[in-house]
Every structure is written in C-alpha cells, then in structure tokens.
C-alpha cells in the first residue's frame, strides 16, 4: 500500500508539473530486469506520461510462465526486459501482440532485425554479449592464463574449473550452444562440447549461477553473459570478463505487449518511450551495463564495448524457434548430458 501511495503521490506531483497530463489511466508492467532499474522505469514513465504504473518484478522464465497461465484473462499489459528467447517464444505461442513502434528506425540493425523476425511482436531494448567470467585471484593462485578464446577452454589446466548452465533449464546455456553451433558448425561444436566436458565441474540449473560461483571463488571460469560479470565486479568481487576471439553470440533484452492487454494505448506509449534514449539510459543509472538498442542512447562507459567484441550474426529467427531448440537440447542431452564425470 505504501508503495502504491508513494507512486500515486509521485504521479500527482508529476501531473501537476506537467500541466494537462493528468493521470491517464493505469499500466501493469511485468519487469524482468534488476529491481532498481524496474523502479526507475516506473517512476520515470509516470513523470513522462502521467500514467499510474504498477510494476511486478520477476525473472523472464517466471514471467512467460505467468503470462501463459494468465492467457485466458490477462492481467499484465506489457513485459519489459529479460533475455530475448522467452520473448520470441511468447511471440511464437501467440501470447504477445504485434506493434510497430514509430521509434523503430532509430534502433540498431540487430534490434530492427529481431523485431522484423518476430513479426513485430517484440523489440530489443538492449543487448549483452556472451563470454567468459573468471576469478582473477583463483587464476593467479593456480598460475593459469585467463581464457581468451573458445579453444582455450579445452586446455587440461582448466580441468574441473569451468562451470556452465544446463541448457534444459537455462536460456543462457542454450545461447552458448547455439553460438558454438553458429561459430564452428554443428558437428565441430559438439566435438568441442565433448572435449570441454572434462573441464566442467557442474552444469548448474540456473543461468546466472556460474557467474556467482566465479565471484565467490567456487569455480575459476564461467560461461555467462559478460554484463553479469560487470555487476559482480562492481559489488566488490574479483571478477573479470572476456569475450571469445573466434566470435560470440549475444542476447537481446526485449519488450513485448501482452495479448489482450487492458491498457493497450498506454502499453504502446510505454513501448515507444522504452525505445527512446531518455528511457534507455536509466539502465546505466541502475548500474546495469548492457548495450542500449537506440543508436542515440549514450553507451555507458562500463559497458562491454560491442565494437571490441567479435559478434557473430546470431540467427534469432532460426535458433529462437521451439523446434530447433528442442532438437539441439535433445542432442546435447544424449551426447554430453549423459556422459560420466
């Protein structure tokens, strides 16, 4: 109640300042980015549009499960943030609505392509590259050299020191496998994964767990999104990140309008706003350092520079499809998941 009260106070104050823009209805946002970012989004959009925002923060996997469960009587209007795969899945499952924002032309090519691929049911708001996280203290102590390429992960020196997530449960791990398939070709990718298996100490259930294990020194190296490593480093842990020299994939944090949204007009207004530079720099304010999708948004200094990263032309249309995902995961299960430790 207190928060709602505070938010409505803010809304009133904002509307007084903005003159005629008196609270024009409500907007229910499912938010899959970090808490401070979600809170900033809520207050800033209220100021901008005079709309009362109720924000519910959940992981992207939980949010799509919720949207699917609520499909008969949707309660949310718009889904902000979280890795692109579940957004694409929601688009494929007809859980989200198509909307062509007028802001589209000002976005980077990768964001425009993803929007077109999904039939404009989702659009990217930020991107984050896949790479390695490593614990600098452990690497120094064990006199190892930090990995710089995918091939480095096969070194015998890293035996039992690498952690990655299990693709059955984690979208991050699936992006990693799809990336390897696109970098090396499918057969070579699976040979590589088999070789790396000797160095893996655990395939965790959660996608963010390996980076946390690196931060606490439970493992030396992780395969993760590099911006997660920046967050851990800023929290005071001895974490550094690298992106593979052969090229790497990335995730597109996306935004979608939920099908059957009760506040459709406000949801569209929100999408337009979320794609603007003013809204996109809020991520950096909340200490989240992905690359914003609008070309005019200043890129935060801490963000891993996309220019320095060898990005592959990740085929979201192909690898975002449920059938392809099922096939690759099943192959991983039978060839790697079933191997002995």
């Amino acid at each position: 109640m207190r928060r709602v009260f505070r938010i409505s106070c803010l809304a009133v104050a904002a509307s007084l300042a903005a003159g005629p823009a008196f609270a024009q209805g409500n907007l229910n946002v499912y938010c899959s980015v970090q808490a401070e970012w979600c809170a900033l989004i809520a207050t800033e959009f209220q100021k901008h549009a005079g709309v009362k925002v109720a924000i519910t923060q959940k992981g992207s996997g939980e949010t799509i499960a919720q949207i699917k469960a609520e499909a008969a009587n949707p309660k949310g209007d718009v889904w902000f943030g979280g890795t692109g795969d579940p957004h694409l899945q929601a688009a494929e499952d007809n859980l989200t609505d198509s909307y062509k924002s007028p802001a589209l032309p000002s976005l980077h090519a990768w964001a425009q392509k993803q929007a077109a691929d999904s039939g404009y049911r989702t659009v990217g708001i930020y991107a984050g590259a896949l790479g390695f996280g490593y614990n600098t203290e452990l690497i120094a102590k064990k006199k190892m050299t930090a990995p710089a390429c995918w091939a480095d992960l096969l070194q015998p020196a890293f035996k039992g020191e690498i952690q990655m997530a299990n693709p059955n449960s984690s979208g991050t791990a699936y992006v990693a496998i799809a990336t390897l398939v696109q970098v090396m070709g499918e057969e070579k990718a699976f040979v590589f994964l088999k070789g790396m298996h000797a160095n893996i100490n655990a395939y965790t259930r959660s996608g963010t767990a390996p980076m946390k294990a690196v931060a606490r020194g439970e493992t030396a190296i992780s395969i993760s999104f590099v911006h997660d490593g920046v967050t851990e480093a800023l929290a005071g842990f001895p974490v550094k990140t690298a992106t593979p020299c052969e090229g790497t994939g990335y995730e597109i944090g996306s935004i979608s309008i939920i099908k059957g949204a009760r506040n459709l007009a406000n949801a569209r207004k929100f999408v337009d706003w979320a794609l603007s530079p003013a809204a996109q720099q809020l991520g950096a304010q909340a200490k989240q350092f992905q690359v914003p999708s609008n070309k005019d948004t200043p890129v935060p200094a801490e963000a891993p520079k996309f220019a320095d990263i060898k990005l592959i032309d990740y085929d979201f249309a192909k690898y975002g499809k449920t059938a392809e995902r099922k096939r690759l995961i099943a192959r991983w299960d039978s060839e790697i998941g079933a191997l002995a430790k």
């Binding site: 928060r3 799509i64 699917k68 059955n168 259930r205 946390k212 606490r216 929290a235």
Partner: protein, 744 residues
C-alpha cells in the same frame, strides 16, 4: 450418543429457514460479482442495481437478463417450502440435501460455463443460444449464497442420519471438505491434467507414457559409474535419507528435551527452532560459505595442511546436509508432543516387572512413540521431495524432481506437460510414503493420555541411550549455532565472505526510518514487503491452525464415508511442489467464478491450504494418544460435539495447536516457490524480495532482512506460546537424572 433434543424437527426447520433467509438476503442485497476495488470498497451502493457489476442476483435475473442464475436461486427459494413438508426428520433431510446439492452443482456449472467473454466453450453457445452477458469473479452476494447452500447441505445430511445425526459434525466435515476441494483438489487436478496434453493443449494420453518412461527420469547409470542417475531415483534416495536422518535427530532432541536433566534445554529448543524460521536460501548460502571451495573449512585445511579445496558440498551430500538442517526442527516438533505424551504409568509398570531401563525403553516407550516416529518420517520424507531452495543452491549436477519441475515451468522449454508429469510422479512418491506410514502405524491403539489420576514419573533414559542422544544432538546443535553466528555476522559486514569491514549500511538501506514534517517516514526499502508479510502471515496462521486441527479431529475421531479420501486430500497440497501449486492457483483463480489473482486473499488461501497438512499431521499424532474415553465421558455428561472439542480435546491439544500456529505463521513468512506467481506490486512479500536481492548478488541486504525476519518470527513464536499456554497433564515433574530409578 446424542442427548435427545426437545423437538428436533422444530430446531431443524428453524435452522434451515434461518440459513435460507440468510442466503436469500445475501442474493438480494449484496452485489453478486466481485467489486474491482475489493470487498471493503462500498462504491457499489450508489448505483446498486444500475449496472450488472453492481447488482444483486435478483436484479440480475429480472432486469439484466442473467437467466442462468434462476435455477440456483430457485433451489434456494425451494428451501422456503420446508414448513409445508410433513414433520418428519428424514423427509426434510432428503429434500434439503437434494435442493442444496442441486443448488451447489448449478452454482459451479454456471460459473464455469460463463466467463469474462461469455460462454467458455463453443458447444455451450450452440446448445443454449447466444448470450450478451459476461461474468466476473463471484462477490459478496454469491459467497453468502454459497455458504448458505453448504450449511443447508450439512443440515440435510445430518437430518438424514449421516454423521450420527450431529449437525455440527456434518457442518464441519462439509466445510473442511468443500474448502479442500475448492482450494487444493481443484487447482491441483487442473494442472495435473496437463500431463495428458500436448504443449499445444490437445488431449493425447499416450504422451503421458512417453514422458513417464524418459531415461532422464529412470536411468540407473550411476550404479555402474556411467553418469548420473535419473531424477526419480535421486529424489527418492535423498528423501529416504532425509526422512530417516531428521527422524533420528528429532528423536534425539526430543528425548534430551523431555527425559534428561540437560541444563541448556531452553537454548537447545531455540536452536532447533532456528532453521525452521530461516528464510529460504540462507542455510544453503551459509553452508557454501562454511564448506564451499572458498569457504572457511576448506581455506583452513588448505592453509594449515595443504589439502586442496574440493567442491564436495555441491551435490547429494550438500543437499542432504542442508535438508537435515532445515527439516530436523519439524521432526522435533512432531516428536516432542509424542514423547511428552507417552504415559509414565506403563513405563513404571514395566520397571515394576523388573525390566531394566533399556528394556523398558525398547519394549514400552519406543513402540508407544511409533505414531510420532512414523509421522516425523513422513513429514521429513515429503518435505525433502517438495524442497526446492536447497537443491537449487547446492544441487550442482544433482537434479531432483522439484528443481526439474521448476525448470520445466520457468526454464528454457516452458513445458507444462512435462512439469505435470513429474509432479504426478512426485505425488506418487508422497502417496507411497503416506501408505507406508499407515502400514507402520496400523490400527493399534497408542492412547496413553486418559482421564485417570496421577500417571507417575517419566523414566530416565538408559545411560547408553542418553549418551548416544547427546552425542548426536549436541554437536549438531553446536554446529547450528556456529552457522547462525556466521550468518548473523554476514548482515553487519560490507560483503559477506569477502570484505569483512563492519557496517550498518545493509540494515540502514532496508529498515531506515526518518523523521519527516508530519511524523515518521518509513523510508527503508524493505518496509513495504515486511508489513505485507506480517499482516498476511498473522491472518493465515490462526486460520491454518483452526482448519488443520478441525480436520485432524474429524479424521481421528469421527467415522464417516470418504474419510480416507479426505485424509489424502489434506496431504495433497503438501506433496505437490510449490511451483506447481503457484501455477495451478494462477490457472484456476485467474478466471471466474473465483477470480482472486492479484489480491491478498489468494496469498492467504495459498498459505492456509499449503501449511494446513502439518497441523493435520501434528493434530492426528497428538490425538492418537488421547484416549477416547475422555470424549465419551464428555458425551455422557451431555456435552455435545462442539463442547467436547472446546473443553476436552483442544486443551489437551495445546502442543499441537502451538505447533500448527507456529508452523502456519513461519511457513507463511518463509515460503517462496508457491508465491512467486501470486505476488503483485501491491502485495509484495519478504521472501520474494530477498530472493531478488540474492539474484542480484546483494547478499548483505538479503542477510540483514533475513535476520530481521528471524527476530520477527522468534517474537511471534514466543507470543503464540504465551497465548496458547502449555498442556497440563496432571503429571509430576520429570525425574532428576542423577537419581536413576530401579537400576537392575
């Protein structure tokens, strides 16, 4: 048994007409559908009858053309014909049962058939013609009618001679059964049928077999070292170890707390309580910081002896350790009531017959504790298979059903069918545990609390056993204490496990209070979720205890058809993992007739029905010790069922009541997986807030908040014990251990 009332037919008629009048008044004067701003918003009064949303049932059918409400209102109106019927109890009962039963059926049929977009299925529209009405969730009026119909049904059943003709028992059974059916069975079934559906929602029963026989579930590779075993074996093995371990530890603690002169009993009790009131993930994180590769123990071994740090905590061993920490207290709570309840009379008799203390314990005390042991094992077993927090933090590669289900729902595959299949399997395991427990306890009598005078002094434990109990329990307790000191310190340092500069910043961020121009400003980030949690837990705890003990009393003391089914239904929500319950609640209660998602009500209901099983188990275990002769004595003194319950059974059930209240409160505060899908911006809970902090790596704040919650729950437990009081059994104090009696 029933004392003859002056004129049962008159009383019956009066009661039935009263309920009918109440139902009709509710239908006429209260809005039938839920109001958008909640029960306490009275803006519907202004335009009552004007719009369909703000109309009573009669206005709806007469003015707005909602003809489908006629039949159920007709059933209720039919009950007004009672005075015309012959003054024959059975006839009246039959008519009442038929009318109320038909009314209830019609109530649900129309509610399920017409939703927010009119007819919910095409064939309904084809059969009954198009309608332009649409229905939202039921509101105050419909609820009153529902309650009235249920009451009439129980009056009718009792009048027909069911439940020994006792209207109170009939009402209690109908109320308990109806609430469990609506809030446990229905949602659980709705999600479980997904196991038969394809991901697109088409019905394909063959798929279940295919899903069930997957090698990922049943593989036995680990036996010959060729990889991991299937999740089913993993789960089962872990649960058996956890059930056995928690029961042994719980028994050791219970024996020390009740049968020895151990000096620090109070401290011991607090220590055994601590893990139960610890928010999820904290124990797991604490164990990592102590035993992890970079943890205290390994670092010490590394620097002192040069033993290379290992990762043994991740996997089966770590999960089992964490589960033993987490669930021993529950086993202790179940055991202590039983160990306390074993009457010294029989033990004294055994000693009089020259049995030694060990023989007495082995042949008399231990068998009498059997229901407690079996219940403790069952609870430990089921807690383990439903546990999600510990396997997710410490499991590493070791997958169990609960994590597998969670990721089938929220992971990369979003496969409700697979989740439902695995949930079915989990349910089957729980069911297996349940029947095993029934086999062990059997139908023998364990009653040792009877209404007969002094029962003598409890016998001291045999020395060997005492030493064994202490050797198990005391190191465990010391270890728990150490872990908690370590966690507690975590809230006061900059970065837990890394930068140990003392700081108050985490507490300041979470619980800051500032002095503003008009009073105090609660500026801390945690206050909102903190107060919501306290409020909802305080509402649900008494409801949980009340419903749980009522159900326990009915199950243990009354004989009626469907008793076994009801007993199993009470266990259902406990055995189904939280994630499944959460999704099931969203599935079921996001659409009319019961549209309650996004409200505080759904959270309270989820808490109550998820936590009630422990109240039921504790109540039944305690009740199996109270001799029926006490009930019979009360009945002979013309005490009716409600009086017997209030003056005889409840006072003897105080430990179980404390247990149920404490458990209800604590689990409401600490539960996470079930409520993840139910929290909203307005009703945010402490645990979901903490989990989000943990995900962000903000451990300091998470720990600080957890410590505050632990303090809150300790205060609540003390308050509950103070309010409920102890059970007085009319037994003398325990023996001093230094004066052993009857050494052979």
């Amino acid at each position: 048994m029933m004392p003859a009332a002056p004129s049962p037919v008159v009383t019956l008629r009066r009661a039935a007409l009263l309920w009918t009048a109440m139902g009709l008044a509710g239908a006429a004067l209260l809005p039938w559908y839920a109001q958008p701003d909640g029960v306490l918003a009275f803006d519907w009064i202004g335009d009552f009858g004007g719009t369909a949303e703000a109309s009573g049932a009669f206005t709806l059918v007469l003015r707005h053309g909602f003809w489908w409400l006629w039949p159920l209102l007709g059933a209720l109106l039919g009950c007004l014909s009672l005075p015309l019927l012959p003054a024959h109890r059975r006839t009246i009962g039959t008519v009442l049962t038929a009318l109320a039963g038909a009314g209830l059926a019609l109530f649900w049929l129309q509610g399920l058939a017409i939703g927010v977009n009119g007819w919910t299925a095409d064939w309904l529209g084809a059969a009954f013609g198009a309608i332009d009405g649409r229905q939202f969730g039921i509101g105050a009026g419909a609820t009153v009618v529902l309650v009235a119909l249920l009451a009439l049904l129980s009056l009718g059943l009792a009048a027909r001679g069911a439940f020994k003709g006792d209207a109170f028992i009939a009402g209690a059974v109908v109320a308990v059964a109806a609430s469990i059916v609506i809030f446990t069975v229905w949602p659980v079934l709705r999600i479980l049928v997904q196991a038969f559906n394809t991901t697109e929602g088409a019905f394909a029963p063959a798929l279940l077999l295919e899903r069930l026989s997957a090698p990922k579930i049943w593989a036995l590779r680990c036996l010959w070292g060729g990889g991991g075993c299937g999740v089913a074996w993993n789960t089962l093995f872990l649960a058996l170890c956890c059930g056995a371990g928690t029961t042994a530890l719980g028994l050791a603690f219970a024996l020390i707390a009740t049968r020895t002169a151990f000096t620090f009993k109070k401290t011991l009790r607090v220590l055994t309580i601590l893990p139960i009131i610890t928010p999820p993930f904290v124990i797991g994180l604490g164990l990592i910081l102590v035993f992890g590769r970079a943890g205290l123990v390994n670092q010490f071994l590394d620097s002192a002896f040069g033993i290379a740090p290992t990762r043994w905590i991740y996997g089966f061993q770590g999960v089992l350790l964490a589960q033993l920490f987490a669930f021993t207290p529950v086993a202790f709570l179940v055991m202590i009531g039983v160990v306390e309840g074993v009457s010294p009379t029989l033990e004294e008799a055994s000693q009089t017959l020259r049995a030694g203390r060990w023989d007495t314990f082995r042949t008399v005390s231990l068998p009498l504790m059997k229901p407690g042991l079996a219940n403790a094992f069952l609870v430990g077993f089921i807690e383990s298979i439903a546990d999600f927090g510990n396997p997710i933090v410490l499991g590493g590669d070791y997958g169990v059903l609960s994590t597998e289900i969670y990721f089938a729902v929220v992971g990369a595959q979003l496969d409700y069918g697979r989740a439902a299949t695995l949930a079915l399997l989990l349910l089957a395991f729980a069911l297996g545990g349940f029947f095993l427990q029934r086999r062990v306890v059997g139908t023998r009598s364990y009653a040792t609390i009877a209404g007969k005078g002094d029962a003598g002094l409890p016998v001291a434990l045999p020395d060997g056993l005492r030493r064994l109990a202490q050797a198990i329990a005391l190191p465990w307790a010391a270890f728990t204490a150490l872990l908690y000191v370590f966690v507690f310190v975590g809230g006061f340092v900059k970065i837990w496990g890394r930068d140990h500069t003392p700081t108050l910043q985490h507490y300041a961020k979470a619980f800051a209070i500032e002095r503003g121009p008009d009073g105090l400003l609660w500026t801390g980030a945690a206050w909102h979720s903190f107060w919501t949690t306290v409020k909802l837990a305080a509402i649900s705890a008494p409801l949980t205890a009340l419903l749980g003990l009522l159900a326990a009393w009915l199950l243990a003391r009354q004989r009626f058809t469907g008793r076994g089914a009801l007993e199993f239904a009470t266990l259902l929500s406990f055995a189904v993992p939280g994630t499944v319950i959460g999704v099931a609640y969203v599935f079921t209660f996001n659409v009319p007739p019961l549209e309650i998602t996004g409200t505080a009500l759904i959270l309270v209901l989820c808490f109550v029905f998820r936590n009630m099983p422990v109240g039921v188990r504790a109540g039944m275990a305690a009740m199996s010790q109270i001799d029926r002769s006490l009930d019979e004595a009360s009945a002979m003194l013309r005490g009716r069922a409600p009086q017997t319950l209030a003056y005889v059974v409840l006072p003897l059930l105080r430990p179980a009541m404390v247990g149920a209240l404490v458990y209800g409160f604590v689990r409401s505060v600490t539960t996470v997986s079930a409520v993840v899908f139910l929290v909203t911006a307005e009703y945010e809970l402490a645990t979901t807030y903490i989990v989000l902090r943990v995900i962000n790596g903000d451990y300091g704040l998470a720990i600080a908040y957890s410590c505050a919650l632990i303090a809150l729950m300790l205060a609540a437990i003390l308050l509950i014990q103070l309010l409920v009081g102890e059970r007085r059994l009319g037994r003398r104090a325990a023996v001093p251990a230094t004066a052993p009696v009857g050494r052979a």
